[in-house]
Symmetry: C2
Subunit: 128 residues, 2 copies
Amino acid sequence: MKVTHLTKVASQPVDMPGATGCQVRWLVGQPDGAPSFAMRAFDVAPGGYTPKHQHPYEHEVYVLEGTGVVLEGDVEHPLSAGQVIYVAPDEVHQFRNTGTAPLRFLCMVPHTSASVLPAQAPECGIER
Amino acid sequence: MKVTHLTKVASQPVDMPGATGCQVRWLVGQPDGAPSFAMRAFDVAPGGYTPKHQHPYEHEVYVLEGTGVVLEGDVEHPLSAGQVIYVAPDEVHQFRNTGTAPLRFLCMVPHTSASVLPAQAPECGIER
């Protein structure tokens, strides 16, 4: 068993094309022996966003604090604490902080994601 | 994409031997098309607890609010908001609310859990 606190896990910049103002903490993952999926926590600074991209694996997301939007293609859904988002494989998506405080959310992914390079949405200038 | 709020998802009693004062919401699961794992939210009432049991699949847990303990066998770890718990396959575990407000946590499980019956810890009177 591993028991820790989010704030005790190292936060690192999200080093992906199209990401701005994003940090990630890997809360549970393969180094812990987790067999199939990982739990990460993202912090998106005011004005920041995750890449607008797609990939052949899913996300299961829970918003912890802050306000923002999730883009489903070009459709915006407002986000606040307690919101639940399921991003199906191959859906174009992006998380944006539209507030004045950090937007923090959990994002779970299957380990199969580690071997797959996401495809940027065309408007980002980097096509699949 | 599915976007909803925790409070909009139906809460149902946890109908498992050894559970007291527990409700669950299935936030994301197989009915949503999720390919490999599910996100549930549990509410444990003051004085309540989940079964003390074990099973051959993992849990990835994030505490949203309230106070309590997670038992790793007979060892207690205190819990509060922001705590992260990884329960490895086959570890005996139990979540207990030791506070005066509801203990709410997310608990992610692989879909393979659906076909496996957990084994109660011997002290519950129901052995594997």
